[in-house]
């Protein structure tokens, strides 16, 4: 019985509550737990069971995400009865999130609410009396999930998902009809409709994903990185936003070397502000390492505030002075130029924005247009409120989809999966003409979208085929 009950897939989730804490724990359970841990810490050797190993956690670029303890509890002597890994890292939501994402990329699946307990229960790790308690736990987890869905989704998110699901179903109608009714007069796959609809679903899903991502930011906080040349005033701005003297400020170029983080709220919305070392060519080994870390932060940011000294740099010059910076950025749409030290020039504080729907596609384009720009003085405070206002907007209010909504990491995961299968299905159709594989990928897409919302059976699908097309010899 026990063997049958063993699940095949490996699950992972944050075990400590979301938010800031001294320590954040990620728990992984399942066959692949040990493998994932070894890849994460880039070691081949065997992990000694029930022993605290101090290790660095690496992302897929060999960059360090965090460092902390790894504990290995081989099944069946573990909480769930399966192989369990616990990663104890620093408790910041951002670090924990990157760590969790890395673990998911390595092959784990996001655990459902109560799933660890459920597995523990299924694997006979708990006795009858405990089972009573767990029953309540599973119960409450699902109820809570339901309540959360209602409260935090505001209905808006579900609506978007439902629209997507509906479109996937309509597409499946065509593909399934082509497969099950090949003797009809129309060839459902050949008329180009399927390809067009598929692309349109992909586009819409990408938009919803962006919105959901924003929703997650709303809940878990947006990561804003301060970047720029030495002495631009990054540390001063960090202090201004945090409202306290966190970072050392001097007029010596290259003051900041370590990455400094501050967690702040703007009208209740969480923000993670990161100060970094000034970017320049430096022979100094310590500074060099600081700059390398700065780049890691920049690449991982939701928004990059590019600080310049307004007195040094003409507004029109920024990009021409520094094209390599833009060339190295993964997403140019994240950049906001901050013209600091306007007390030294006669500029007025304020914000000039890009048309909100404008999407920058490449470096050349970025170099040719006006990037969103904020003029302020970190030292004297003018324009800092406008920056706050701007960041607030960037998080919640400025949304491509009417209204915006909140979402959770689990939803992002489901959307990512759905997107993945749509992509594969598209290749199967266009490269291989394999309708039956596209059908399978669409089924998976729908399953993943339905994890967020409702259910649908194949019989409904047939029912719709019969009512949409005249079919049958």
């Amino acid at each position: 019985m026990n063997d049958v009950l063993h699940s095949t897939d490996t699950i992972a989730a944050q075990a400590t509550p979301a938010g800031r804490g001294g320590v954040g724990i990620i728990r992984i359970s399942g066959k692949k737990a040990n493998d994932i841990a070894l890849q994460l810490i880039q070691q081949q050797k065997y992990l000694q069971p029930r022993f605290a190993h101090f290790q660095k956690f690496y992302d897929n670029n060999q960059d360090v995400i965090d460092e902390g303890l790894v504990l290995f509890f081989p099944g069946p002597h573990s909480f769930t009865g399966e192989d369990v890994i616990e990663l104890q890292g620093h408790g910041g939501p951002v670090v924990i999130n990157s760590l969790l994402n890395r673990v998911l990329n390595l092959g784990a699946r996001m655990a459902n609410p109560g799933e660890f307990s459920e597995r523990a229960f299924l694997n006979d790790k708990l006795d009858l009396a405990q089972a009573e308690a767990i029953a309540d736990l599973i119960d409450s987890a699902s109820e809570q999930a339901a309540r959360c869905a209602i409260r935090s989704l505001n209905g808006a998110f579900s609506d978007h998902i439902n629209v997507l699901v509906e479109q996937v179903i309509n597409l499946r109608l065509y593909v399934e009809a082509a497969i099950d009714f090949p003797e009809e007069e129309i060839d459902f796959l050949a008329d180009g409709k399927v390809e067009g609809d598929l692309q349109s679903i992909i586009d819409q899903l990408d938009i919803v994903f962006k919105e959901a991502n924003r929703g997650v930011l709303l809940k878990e906080g947006m990561k804003v990185v301060l970047a720029g040349r030495p002495n631009a005033g990054k540390s001063s701005l960090l202090n201004a936003l945090a409202g306290r003297d966190t970072a050392i400020v001097t007029d010596i170029a290259g003051t900041t070397r370590d990455v400094l983080r501050e967690h702040i709220h703007i009208d209740g919305m969480p923000l993670h502000i990161t100060d970094t070392a000034g970017l320049r060519e430096s022979p100094d080994a310590i500074e060099k390492e600081g700059i390398r870390r700065a780049w890691t932060e920049i690449k991982d940011a939701d928004r990059v505030l590019l600080l310049v000294d307004a007195a040094d740099v003409q507004e029109s010059d920024i990009k021409t002075l520094w094209p390599d910076f833009f060339a190295e950025l993964p997403d140019l749409n994240k950049v906001i130029v901050v013209r600091n030290k306007i007390d030294k020039t006669d500029e007025r504080s304020g914000v000039s924005e890009l048309n909100s729907s404008h999407v920058i596609n490449d470096v050349n384009e970025a170099l040719s247009i006006e990037l969103p720009t904020i003029r302020l003085s970190a030292k004297h405070g003018e324009g800092v409120d406008e920056l706050r206002e701007y960041l607030k907007k960037a998080m919640g209010y400025q949304s491509a989809v009417e209204g915006g909504f909140t979402a959770r990491q689990r939803h992002l995961e489901a959307l990512k999966q759905a997107r993945y299968y749509l992509g594969i299905g598209q290749t199967q159709l266009t490269d291989n003409g394999a309708g039956e594989l596209l059908a399978e990928d669409l089924r998976m897409t729908q399953n993943h979208l339905s994890e967020i919302t409702g259910e649908f059976t194949p019989d409904d699908l047939l029912g719709r085929i019969f009512s949409s097309f005249c079919i049958g010899k």
Partner: protein, 631 residues
């Protein structure tokens, strides 16, 4: 009179379900009686003279993989073969054969008459012999009492059968056959939920009055496929063509003008008909904007002039039938040999069945075929086989065999019926199978024959043939995995001519076959090795092409098995499960799922409800059982 011989299994009905049931049970060495109205109609095709098609061929091949007769009879009778979806992937390809009605019937009868442990008796079954709540035999209309361990009922459209042509109606089981009234009455007294369904058939046409030159010819495939795994096609008869014509505006006008005399539109027929095989009046009513429909003209056999016009099933009055036929190109002067008609009949709610097809209320009583709400020979045959083998297993005091959804279309069919019931005649489609990429017609033997052997359904000859094939596939797969091509070798260069991205590292032949530009044949040509037969090569190639998809489905199946292995007692008290909503409770009480997996597929049963069931199952495992024994 009590018949002196006692049987392990008595099968009522000699249609497609009954024949497979009787043969399966007898193959397992259980003494079996096949009781049917008329020995002349054993294996009769009531409707279209064709076997197979999308989803259906999958069932035929599964029957074949378990030693059944349908595929082999088809190969003795098939006069036009086509592989449908041949340009799509292997998972959705389906073989379809026009079958000569007479040859088919003869092949089935020949098999029945030569099966050891099987007796045939011509007589109507009117009643069951009951022993408490168990079925223990059958009483015929002459009063002969056949005693047995189990009874399988496969009465098709005969229970309470009512035939309609226009507004006229009369009792009948099928044109020319009597209905089964006494048995229907008897079954209606039992606690089964009974309802009515209907189906129809087109008028038949005399080929001598048809102008084929005006119609499009549809020949069979160039290389004639074979239906059975165990045959080579050498016994197939002469091949002929089908033809295609169309309905037109005039046809549609004639039909619309006749609707006031249609039993369906005047409310005379209450039963629900199949949506995928609608009558022509239905098609015209529901898709009013289509001004033409495709009609296939199919031969009924080599020794008859009768034709089957596929697509104009109708219950309109005969004069309207005649006019509508004459309105079509090529049929202007057609003579109708038999009028089309609709038939209404009793069926039993399949939710009252267990997955073994034994009824929940009467031990030892099994239902199979059309009476469970399905339609089609293949659906009937597959259920017959399952009911027959399970009746035999019960007679042998062994545990039932119930294929899962991931093992066979047979599993999908039965599970769909039991979990969801059916409101219209149920027909198989590939889209009903979530594991479609694994459940292919080409691998039905690989999936099922070993199980069939274990159950005693497979004889030594077939078993040897199968084992040889299986071994060859395994060997060839291994060879393809173990043979490596190094980059920059002569072989690699030859391969590079065909593929987009040239080989950059060493590849096994198996990996290479995954590339869309390459297949088994091309690789064999280039590497100069090809020692295996076509069917073996096909299996190896499909395994490579579907690799990623199949392993993902296998993962899913692992998960499914977990829930599937959790049995729910049939009389489980859902009121005692904390936290279930009333709606879910009601659904569960109605469907009485046998396993947690089945419960999860019932519409409206949420994942949260499934967790609650799981918890309550686990909680009570080993302690006092949750089910309260009520008998």
């Amino acid at each position: 009179m009590d018949y002196p011989k006692r049987y392990g299994v008595v099968v009522i009905g000699g249609g497609h379900a009954g024949c497979e049931a009787a043969l399966a049970s007898a193959r397992m060495g259980v003494e079996t009686l096949l009781l049917t109205h008329n020995i002349e109609t054993l294996g009769q095709m009531s409707c279209n003279p064709a076997i197979g098609g999308i989803g259906k061929s999958h069932l035929v091949k599964e029957i074949d993989a378990l030693g059944g007769v349908m595929a082999r009879a088809t190969d003795k009778a098939g006069i036009q073969y086509r592989v449908l979806n041949s340009r799509k992937g292997p998972a959705v390809r389906a073989t379809r054969a026009q079958a000569d009605r007479i040859l088919y019937k003869a092949a089935v009868r020949h098999t029945l008459e030569n099966q050891t442990c099987l007796d045939i008796f011509q007589q109507s079954a009117d009643d069951l012999i009951m022993e408490g709540e168990k079925a223990r035999g059958v009483i015929t209309n002459m009063g002969v009492r056949f005693h047995s361990d189990t009874v399988v009922i496969t009465a098709g459209t005969f229970l309470g059968g009512l035939i309609h042509i226009g507004l006229e109606s009369h009792s009948g089981g099928r044109a020319g056959d009597p209905p089964s009234i006494a048995l229907a009455q008897r079954l209606r007294e039992m606690p089964f939920r009974v309802d009515r369904l209907k189906t129809g058939t087109p008028p038949r046409i005399d080929a001598r009055s048809v102008d084929f030159s005006k119609m499009e010819e549809q020949p069979g495939d160039n290389i004639t496929p074979v239906m059975s795994f165990w045959g080579d096609g050498s016994d197939q008869p002469e091949q002929v063509s089908c033809y295609i014509t169309h309905t037109n505006e005039k046809t549609h006008d004639i039909i619309r003008a006749g609707l006031d005399r249609s039993p369906m539109y005047t409310g005379v027929i209450e039963g629900i008909g199949p949506r995928y095989c609608p009558s022509i009046e239905d098609k015209i009513h529901r898709f009013a904007d289509k001004n033409s429909h495709q009609i296939f003209i199919e031969p009924e056999g080599l020794t008859t002039h009768e034709l089957y016009p596929n697509g104009i099933s109708t219950s309109l009055p005969f004069d309207v039938q005649l006019d509508l036929v004459h309105s079509m190109v090529g049929l202007e002067n057609a003579h109708i040999t038999r009028p089309g008609y609709a038939i209404e009949y009793d069926y039993f709610n399949p939710q009252d069945l267990l997955h073994s097809l034994e009824t929940k209320f009467v031990e030892g009583l099994y239902f199979a075929g059309q009476i469970n709400g399905t339609t089609g020979y293949e659906e009937a045959g597959a259920q017959g086989l399952l009911a027959g083998l399970n009746a035999a297993l019960r007679s042998q005091e062994k545990e039932a065999w119930t294929p899962r959804r991931d093992e066979a279309y047979l599993g999908v069919l039965v599970d769909d019926l039991i979990s969801m019931g059916t409101k219209e005649p149920y027909r198989m489609f590939t889209s009903r199978a979530e594991y479609r990429l694994i459940l292919r017609e080409d691998n039905a033997d690989i999936r099922l024959t070993a199980k069939g052997r274990e159950l005693g359904l497979i004889n030594d000859t077939i078993w040897q043939q199968f084992s040889k094939k299986k071994e060859a596939i395994e060997q060839e797969t291994q060879r393809m995995k173990d043979t490596w091509v190094q980059p920059d070798t002569e072989t690699a260069n030859k391969l590079n001519e065909f593929i987009e991205r040239p080989l950059a590292r060493e590849y096994s032949l198996m990996e290479l076959m995954r590339r869309p530009e390459l297949d088994y044949k091309k690789i064999a040509e280039i590497t100069g090795e090809n020692s295996v037969t076509g069917v073996v090569a096909e299996q190896v190639e499909i395994a490579a092409k579907y690799e990623g998809y199949i392993s993902r489905q296998l993962d899913d199946i692992e998960k499914l098995k977990r829930n599937e292995s959790m049995k729910l007692p049939t009389d489980m008290d859902y009121d005692k499960v904390k936290g279930l909503s009333n709606e879910v409770k009601q659904k569960l009480v109605e469907c009485k799922p046998e396993t947690l997996g089945q419960a999860s597929r019932i519409q409206g049963v949420t994942p949260a409800a499934v967790s609650l069931l799981l918890v309550s199952l686990k909680k009570h495992r080993g302690a006092k059982p949750l089910a309260t024994v009520s008998k």
